[in-house]
Symmetry: C3
Subunit: 274 residues, 3 copies
């Protein structure tokens, strides 16, 4: 039989010994657990980035996986810790919006507030509930304990105020959500929304005073240094620079406006855009 899987997602930073402390606690309780890092380089306390990562990555894991997610600016306050069961996966996280993309429609009866302290690591530190509460709970979930062992069900998850692209007849107006490790700008414009709107027309994309004319399928189609638009592996519109950083070249980052126009609608420019 395969090991029960536990994934970890935190903002502790690459190489943080706090991650290893969580793993030690999990392995003490569930020695047969298989541990997989999703990432520990969520920008500190950036719940929106973490929610996007969980949405993109967690559902790819096999059914029965338990995901522990510690991006927790409210640690030590009264924000609850929740255990969520959804589509064969379990999630243990603070209820701060972190799970609102990966389990957007979960019913309150599949959400347990983690209140029963007999499984926690005592004394519980004021600043590290990831190790003292979430890790031991996740380990027992992975080992097969029923969710009701950890608290009461019936909680409505906190939602994020998540920007939606505005689709208008002559443009789509969206935003940069995050920047990946290559400096690519990931937007909130999904491929299917853009393609339905464009109906096969060529498009121009405006961002931070730049106009991108190169909508391509792959990085290899254009020479180094060319700003291009393409769809990310997760089917969102992405702005990139071939063998470079779009964040640096375009001077844009999270929340920057991204506007998609039809090529036909563009007046002839006197000079090519910079």
């Amino acid at each position: 039989m395969a090991s029960p899987l536990v994934t970890l997602t935190t903002d502790f930073g690459s190489g943080s010994p706090y991650v290893a402390q969580m793993k030690a606690v999990i392995l003490r309780t569930c020695p047969q657990a298989g541990l997989v890092d999703i990432t520990h380089q969520i920008p500190p306390q950036n719940i929106r980035y973490a929610a996007l990562v969980l949405e993109d990555v967690a559902p790819l894991f096999p059914e029965g996986t338990t995901h522990v997610c510690v991006v927790d600016p409210g640690v030590g306050t009264s924000r609850p810790i929740v255990l969520v069961q959804h589509a064969g996966h379990f999630f243990v996280a603070p209820d701060n919006g972190l799970l609102s993309r990966v389990v957007p429609q979960v019913q309150p009866e599949r959400v347990w507030v983690v209140t029963r302290s007999q499984y926690w690591l005592h004394p519980v530190s004021a600043t590290f509930h990831g190790r003292d509460i979430m890790a031991p709970v996740a380990a027992r979930v992975a080992a097969g304990h029923p969710p009701a062992d950890f608290g009461e069900p019936g909680w409505t998850l906190t939602s994020l105020d998540w920007p939606q692209p505005q689709v208008e007849p002559d443009q789509i107006c969206g935003q940069v959500l995050t920047v990946d490790s290559f400096g690519n700008l990931i937007t909130n414009i999904p491929r299917n929304v853009l393609e339905r709107w464009a109906r096969g027309d060529s498009c121009l994309i405006d961002c931070a005073g730049h106009t991108l004319r190169e909508c391509v399928r792959t990085y290899a189609e254009r020479p180094a240094g060319t700003p291009i638009a393409l769809f990310s592996p997760n089917q969102r519109l992405e702005l990139a620079v071939v063998q470079g950083s779009a964040a640096t070249t375009l001077g844009a980052g999270p929340d920057a406006e991204v506007r998609v126009r039809r090529l036909a609608s563009e007046p002839l420019p006197a000079d090519p855009p910079a």
Copy 2:
């Protein structure tokens, strides 16, 4: 049955292929081993930082875990490599002080000097005993070989010259030990020492020309940018800046002096501290 666990702690840096070489050697010898990274981002050759990480992390792992620790500025010199058995854990490391926090009182008969070369990887490189000596020894320890297979017992471990906080009637005078990945300053002042001394009084903390007045339980209690003092997850006094870096804001790092005073003892300042 659960896999025997082997943890790795090095200063090779994030993503170093040398870590993967050590893992390959371990798995060749003990294919059933479960490998866990404690961290590979010990600042290069910083034995003190590594000793602190091992103290904080290693004892949380289950009994029977083998810990390989390679922070080894003296590689290739005559410094011995040791195998230590303590409280159900095994440690394989150069004898340079690295283990002096995690097994401070270990008896010489639980310390073996690793001298028997038949289990090493030959030819032994002059600069990478982690791969050629420590990894194959740790793998065999994890697989159940008795310590006496690897050398003679009866060695007194090297101790670090570790700064202790000075507790005086009117102040505690300590030091910054390390900086974590958030820029938090971790001091050598333990919570129980400070609380016994303070007897419930409010305290002020001086560091690098700044005076911190905010001694709080959690990060969430103060607005972004506030310098605060709190106890780290490992119960040491820690200086932090809410959603920022104390190292940058206070301009302080390892060895900086940290002074704790009673609030009552403070003369009224003419101007608030910078």
Copy 3:
């Protein structure tokens, strides 16, 4: 029985969620797989660096290991993905030279072009064949599927234009191949070539206008700040600075010329070199 091992080598960067997506896909198909990261910090699209890492690390893993390697500037173009069987190891990678050091002499009948799409993850993204093609293929190889399930054999691997050191009577003229995480400069001059040429004479090494006179066995032999030459753990000539960075101190990087001369052949300098 031990788990089948799958290693991952990519240029996705430390903490990239794309690595976790590949792991999720592998574990869905081969839940018993043991996953080991070789590194995800190959400099972006640096095939030469990746080829060197694979050469140094992959052969140390046990027989039967499957290595997935994703450094793929040509993703989405017609460059094929190959499956290679060599010396008991399997490799899944784009055919762009990445494997040309680790399996330099492999026969075309041990190279399969991965063309059978029934095992791929659909829809196949244009930019992430690592997740959609290479991960599911590697997982099935690890689970024991025969190579012929994935495509046709009989392909000649792409070779890199790899610089070779020039050995002349009075000097060896080589190059810096890569810089490691300590700033050490790894050259293309193998230990055995240099030692055969030097026949026991002392040597001088010129690089970027500096002359290194200190050819030592270990870092510990010289004081901090001294530029030294020694052999890397992988038996290549390496230029280092004790407790510092040779890349910074010497101002040299990949492709910099490295010249080895006999000490006796050096004219007396009027001034010591800088």
